[in-house]
Amino acid sequence: MIRYAMVIDTQLCIGCGDCVVACKTENKLPAGLNRDWVVEATRGRYPDLTTEFRSERCNHCSHATCVHACPTGASHLWKDTNIVLVEANKCTGCKACIAACPYDARLIMAPDGYVDKCTFCHHRVEKGQDPACVSSCPTHCMHFGVLNDPNSAVSRLLATRQQKVLLEETGNQPNVYYLT
């Protein structure tokens, strides 16, 4: 199974939100719906401060509780990868997957009512391109690739840099990494 991962360098991220606009335009999302978002975390007291920016989205978990929760198979893994997709014409809108996602990364597509989410831009990955957010980031702080390949950019970054994932305690084994 191919394991795709996103590696985001919080040392370089400036919180500009280009990744968010790029996602919305590339994927033609209706106004007011987001597949990704940017968090700013400031620690300390003036003047001893640190600020970390994080571009967040679905983590395409290796243990995807959303997929397990789906009664119809609408939430599924793309081909033989960890990319989690929703097939609209299998989706009943029961929203179990939404309740099952500890990251609240899913959304209800308006006006249709099926569930939507970050696709890791598989339509681009298929063509050997990076996801829209990754390829638009002006600081080049986002990286995308295959974890199984030890020579991939993402693998090498994870091998050499300090890192963390979000909510490790959920056991979902997220595949979006943050270099710290």
């Binding site: 919180g15 939100g17 968010v20 209706p30 106004a31 007011g32 719906l33 987001n34 978002w37 940017v38 968090v39 700013e40 975390a41 400031t42 620690r43 300390g44 007291r45 920016f53 509780t65 997929v67 397990h68 929760a69 789906c70 009664p71 119809t72 198979g73 609408a74 609209a88 014409n89 299998k90 989706c91 009943t92 809108g93 029961c94 929203k95 179990a96 939404i98 309740a99 099952a100 996602c101 500890p102 990251y103 609240d104 899913r106 959304l107 209800i108 308006a110 249709d112 009512g113 099926y114 569930v115 909510l167 305690e169 959920t170 056991g171």
Partner: protein, 331 residues
């Protein structure tokens, strides 16, 4: 100090700021499901133990309500779907890992059994209805079939009732992502609460003194167990992981304190308990008939609050820097 904020606005409807994907439909569905379970459980029991004459209402009249209540419940489930045209997709797949999927298939089994259970008690319970159905050849056939396999039907009824009762709880407790739900006490709690709801229906329906006495006793026991389970559940949360502790705080002093204690525990558990106790002690007043009503209300509230609490309890809480309601200007 830590300041964690969203610098791009995030306001996905029904997801932010906290989940509100399920409002009244799912609680109502779970309530109806639990009630059906309780009904089938009591009815089957009495039928199997041949207690028709001691418990005329339970054994003769109650069963008919199972398929009716269940149908209403399934209607509520349907109403909740946000992509309704695809409801049939529940039945183009079976996903063993998905409680939702189990549920939809269990219902498919429960349904015919509940109908058969109703059928085999129809002539004695509702003679006029029995005659009506007997007008049709098919009707007669079904009733006769049901009556012939009475015991078998009741046995299946018993088993499936327990499944169904547990399922209404497991559906929620299986969500590890929702701290408030993620505890082993939910399944038994919902089963018991379903039974006590059924008991309340009996109290409302029966004209038989002995039946009333017994089921008042039963209900007292059930409610007591319910209280115990709820206490255990809260303790279990309060001593659990970071997020579970936060979740428990919601009922201790948090936003949910008033709804939980004032609108659920007191009127939905304590008052009926006391009233039904007095009733046994013999001072029986007409107005005390509200106690079963309150008991029913209680077992709905239990589910409604549980569903809300679960959705509100979360691993993440996003705080917007900018007013998210301004996006309404775009929608």
């Amino acid at each position: 100090m830590l300041e964690e904020v969203l610098v791009t606005v995030r306001d996905n409807p029904h997801i932010d700021p906290a989940l509100t994907v399920w409002t009244w439909e799912i609680p109502a569905y779970l309530f109806m499901g639990g009630l059906t379970a309780g009904i089938m459980l009591f009815a089957s029991l009495m039928i199997l133990r041949g207690k028709e004459d001691d418990f005329p209402f339970v054994a003769r009249k109650l069963p008919l309500w199972a398929p009716i209540v269940l149908s209403v419940g399934m209607l509520f489930l349907f109403l909740d779907l946000s992509h309704k045209a695809y409801v049939w997709r529940f039945y183009t797949a079976f996903q063993p890992a998905s409680p939702m999927s189990w549920g939809s298939w269990i219902l498919l089994l429960v349904y015919p059994v509940s109908i058969l259970l109703a059928a085999c008690t129809l002539r004695s319970g509702y003679p006029w209805l029995g005659r009506l159905v007997d007008r049709f050849r098919a009707g007669t056939a079904i009733i006769n079939f049901a009556c012939r396999h009475r015991a078998l039907v009741a046995q299946w009824g018993l088993v499936l009732a327990v499944f169904l009762g547990f399922y209404t709880g497991i559906l929620l407790s299986a969500f590890s992502a929702r701290p408030f739900w993620n505890t082993g006490f939910l399944a038994p709690l919902f089963l018991i609460s379903g039974m006590s709801a059924a008991a309340a229906v009996v109290l409302l329906g029966t004209r038989n003194e002995h039946e009333r006495q017994t089921f008042t006793r039963i209900d007292i026991v059930l409610i007591t167990i319910k209280v115990a389970l709820i206490a255990l559940l809260l303790v279990n949360l309060a001593t659990g992981s970071r997020v579970q502790i936060e979740a428990s705080h919601m009922v201790f002093g948090g936003d949910f304190a008033v709804p939980f204690w004032v609108f659920f525990v007191i009127p939905g558990l304590m008052v009926p308990l006391i009233l039904e106790y007095w009733e046994l002690k013999g001072q029986r007043r007409a107005w005390m008939m509200i106690s079963p009503v309150l008991a029913l209300y209680g077992s709905y509230m239990l589910r409604h609050l549980t569903v809300d609490l679960g959705q509100t309890s979360s691993y993440v809480s996003y705080v917007n820097t900018f007013d998210p309601t301004l996006l309404e200007l775009l929608r």
